[in-house]
Symmetry: C2
Subunit: 109 residues, 2 copies
Amino acid sequence: MGITKTEIFTDEQNKLALQLKAIAHPARIAILQLIIEAKACICGDLSSELGLAQPTVSQHLKELKNAGLIQGTIEGVSVCYCIEPQAWKNLNNELNKLFSSYKGINSCC
Amino acid sequence: MGITKTEIFTDEQNKLALQLKAIAHPARIAILQLIIEAKACICGDLSSELGLAQPTVSQHLKELKNAGLIQGTIEGVSVCYCIEPQAWKNLNNELNKLFSSYKGINSCC
DNA sequence: TTAATTAATCGTAATATTGCAATATAATTA
DNA sequence: TAATTATATTGCAATATTACGATTAATTAA
């Protein structure tokens, strides 16, 4: 079919998948890093910094925003994008749970 | 176009994006959790546990394996899938780096 | 008000993903 | 060897993603 069967998974699994999908692109990883390092937080700056067209960056920003990972505040003509602290912390926690649940010693293979 | 411009990003960014993409699906998150909890590590068991067709699960397992996150060992007629410890640890480290690089206090907004 | 600047949206082409039925492959067992 | 059991592959339809040119908003400055 081509459409993910979200109904057979838990809300936690679906939410984690959505947020990870938002990060799972090199451009969006780069954008997050630039935002965190405060090297750029404005669409145009990110665009020239990355070498991607402005509409492309705008779309990536939209996806990160839809996932709740960043927030944008209007600064005159431009928009400053920053990490959304709560969502960032929550995702970090969810990932820590997933990764720490693996104890290293395998039960089967 | 529709094809990611991998050449303009670093190897680290591309690799992290690829591994995150492998995890960024509720079925694959569920598969990893079942494997980690050792509730199921065989394609057929995962298939009935998840309620997804066997070829679908097989394909998800293939993607997790391609990303290096799991390994399969032949157990008679079936294949037992487990976490690949080194890759799991590396991904955990990369994510920790990304998440901890955000110090909470924003420089701009 | 008009011009300038910046971000968002629309439309489109190329490609990738998701899911499964049908089938093929591989290993064990009778 | 033939039957059984389990996984992998193929092929396909539906949908999603990626990237960008062209255009449209929105805000500030002249």
